[in-house]
Amino acid sequence: MSAIETEDLRKRYGDLQALKGVSLEVDEGEFFGLLGPNGAGKTTFINILVGLVKKSGGEARVFGYDVEDDYREARDAIGLAPQEFNVDRFFPIREVLVHKAGYHGVPKDVAEERADEALRTVGIYDKRDTRFHWLSGGMKRRFMLARAMVTDPDLLILDEPTAGVDVQLRHDLWEIITRMNEEGTTVLLTTHYIEEAERLCDRVGILDEGEVVEVSSPDELMSRGTDTVRVTLAGEIDAVPSALNGKVNGGADADGYEARVEDGELVVETRNAGATLAEVMRALDDAGHDVVDVEMSRTSLEEIFVEVTRDHGDVTRAPEGDA
């Protein structure tokens, strides 16, 4: 069963079409990353699932439950850590958690145990009698995760959970989220930190200007990028060694590579640096060249992300430019 399933999901705010027919499926138990530039529609998408935004069209289901017709079942399955802090100012944080669990039907004594456990997990149990307002920025982020997990959700939705936190805390939060996912909780994560998606997600969906432009695993995405191998040979060269000539003008096709000389070094661009490197080395060796140094750089997911959203932006903006 799909944890999240949307078909042609649309949302319009006045003249602005925030979602332009998003069809997306997140499998049960999956760790799914939703990436996209600011204003791409990521938060709108999430808010439709939890009932904070009314959809203008299309379908959205959580574990098969329609988010409007079966809103109680759908919401019961979700634990949400929103991007903005939206915590009850009147009560100490432990009580806020007890209330949240109570809204999900958890009896008070069990809710109290769950609240303590959640606070211990995120490491702020000793602050349990403090109000949210008085917590430090990092503790506030920890608390947002505690509130999302206190209802023991089947689907954990995290909207920029590590925005503005230090490296140590980010790693702590990743560890907790990963553990929950390993225990069977489906995770939907939006993030601006591409590294976060690369490290954590089984699949990522790229949303741009209200449309899904890509759904793939981080590895698949990265394999589409171009890797660069720089080879320093003994003595400067001014032309690509003839051993590699067959590939030079052919361009970087699916299995091939493209070589050129730059500052006296041989530069090879390829889809797969690992496979290409061996072939290049063999060809150079056969031709009697001495290799002094090899430097290899892989395309980052960040570069792919920028490329994909830029290409999509060019396509969607083109008609306006032509008009």
Binding site: L52, R72, E73, E84, D88, R89, H99, Y103, G105, A111
Partner: protein
């Protein structure tokens, strides 16, 4: 979601408890202002001026005053509580913790309305207690007293929910309370009997729904009835209005008015 407390759904009981604790734990904010205000009302209007006014409808002025002050305190606290709680939660967005939960819209509305009505009832009891310090309080028709207090506190709590969802800023709450609620209550016959008004203003006053509320509670306390509308008819109309406004609240929650984009 299926777990229940006291035979009631746990979600509803939790929200109700949260709402009640919010004001119970702040006695300086919840109970002190009506306590002080009503001590002043009873002292100035009841004791100092009351001796000059003499009797109205066969009772001392201070005793005549008491039911009106109870109504004033009960309905303003009911209205303020639900409107503030919802608006403040919207303003700071923490109401989202409730609205994204699996509570039914009916349970959400009932928790806000009943917790606010309870605050109104508690303030009504407090004001009655203050009155008892100044004069001996009698309850001639306990059934009507309880029935009217329950109905009007529910009605105004439900109206407060509408106000809390409608408000776009804090001044909306002030406008509703000071410029709408208070004048209607003051011209509803708290401080004077409608019988002293010229004929035209007597009939104009009958268009004010507060007249029937004050009159009903006064009937409960004193047995005195200053208008031609009997307490039963008034009770039926007010109960119908309360049910209708609660139903409206549920529709507004379901549509996400003021709560969703």
């Amino acid at each position: 979601m299926s777990t229940r407390s006291y035979g009631l759904p746990t979600g509803f009981v939790t929200l109700m408890r949260r709402e009640v604790l919010r004001y119970i734990r702040r006695p300086r904010n919840t109970f002190m202002p009506p306590l002080i205000t009503n001590v002043l009302y009873f002292s100035v209007f009841g004791v100092i001026l009351g001796n000059r006014v003499g009797e109205i409808q066969g009772v001392s002025y201070i005793l005549f005053l008491l039911p009106g002050l109870v109504v004033l305190g009960a309905i303003s606290n009911s209205f303020e509580n639900s409107s503030f709680s919802i608006f403040h939660g919207r303003w700071n967005e923490y109401i989202q913790a409730t609205t994204t939960s699996p509570l039914s819209y009916t349970h959400m509305v009932l928790a806000y309305v009943l917790s606010s009505a309870l605050r109104g009832v508690l303030i009504g009891i407090l004001i009655t207690g203050v009155g008892a310090i100044f004069t001996s309080v009698t309850v001639r028709n306990p059934f009507y007293l309880v029935a009217f207090i329950l109905v009007i506190t529910v009605l105004f709590s439900a109206l407060g929910v509408v106000g809390g969802l409608w408000a776009r800023d804090f001044d909306y709450l002030t406008v509703m309370n000071q410029f709408l609620l208070r004048p209607l209550v003051f011209f509803g016959g708290i401080f004077y009997s409608l019988e002293v008004l010229p004929t035209l203003w007597f009939y104009v006053s009958l268009l004010n729904p507060m007249v029937y509320m004050v009159n009903g509670v006064r009937y409960g306390f004193l047995g005195a009835d200053a208008v031609d509308v009997g307490p039963n008819a008034a009770l039926v109309v007010l109960t119908t209005a309360a049910v209708a406004v609660v139903a409206l609240d549920i529709v507004l929650f379901r549509r996400g008015y003021g709560l969703t984009e």
